[in-house]
């Protein structure tokens, strides 16, 4: 079953604007990861934020995590056409000594040139 839920489901903005996507989850987590999926290509890992972290940066990406609200946001600054993709959050579920990622349905981001 899906744990993460992203919103909005779809987002269309002009190139150069900032894009913000949100993810909510239901159970406690060890970490939360964001992935990008370009049309016709596989998923690519973007950034991981640990449960004891509140904010993390990577280039034009900024991720925040609020464990009290069980939510995370992904901000892409100065968006580019190449950022057009679907963005997924995934939370870690630990099973014995192994883990698996629980995925949300994703946000489809379209950057208009």
């Amino acid at each position: 079953s899906q744990q993460g839920e992203e919103d909005p489901q779809a987002l269309s903005i002009q190139e150069g604007e900032n894009a913000t996507m949100n993810c909510s989850y239901k159970t406690s987590i060890n970490n939360l990861q964001w992935y990008r999926q370009n049309s016709g290509r596989g998923l690519v890992h973007l950034i991981l934020i640990r449960s004891n972290e509140r904010e993390k940066h990577s280039g034009r990406l900024r991720v925040t995590l609020d464990t009290s609200k069980k939510s995370s946001s992904l901000l892409i600054t100065a968006s580019r056409a190449a950022d057009t993709a679907s963005y997924f959050c995934a939370t870690v579920r630990v099973m014995d000594s192994n883990y698996q990622l629980i995925w949300g349905a994703g946000t489809k981001l379209i950057i208009k040139p």
Binding site: R41, L48, F88, A90, N98, Y99, Q100
Partner: protein, 116 residues
């Protein structure tokens, strides 16, 4: 290899036929995962391998689905007596050990399955 590869990239089959999907993980990666992604949806976990064994088969939708992994490398996902609802993109991912909470999964391009 340089990345995770999957074959075929596209598969069209008739309802009731069996299909085999192949995944070749990154060399040296112990953990291998199969997911299914329906159109416009997120990923649905199917099965996970640690080496050649599958400690978690909880995501397999029915007994028509099975998977194996040999030599700790290549994995095949088999769907018997395919149904139209099996149509989806089947994604494979691998990670170094599958035992770290911070491990990145590396995904293949997927196999797009269409059952007519």
């Amino acid at each position: 290899g340089a990345g995770v590869s999957q074959s075929p990239s596209n598969k069209v089959t008739e309802k009731g036929k069996d299909v085999e999907l192949r995944c070749d993980p990154i060399s040296g990666h112990t953990a291998l995962y199969w997911y299914r992604q329906s159109l416009g949806q997120g990923l649905e976990f199917l099965i996970y391998f640690q080496g050649n064994s599958a400690p978690d088969k909880s995501g397999l939708p029915s007994d028509r689905f099975s998977a194996e992994r040999t030599g700790g490398s290549v994995s095949t996902l088999t769907i018997q007596r395919t149904q139209q609802e099996d149509s989806a993109v089947y994604l494979c991912a691998s990670s170094f050990s599958g035992t770290s909470w911070e491990e990145t999964q590396y995904f293949g391009p997927g196999t797009r399955l269409l059952v007519l």
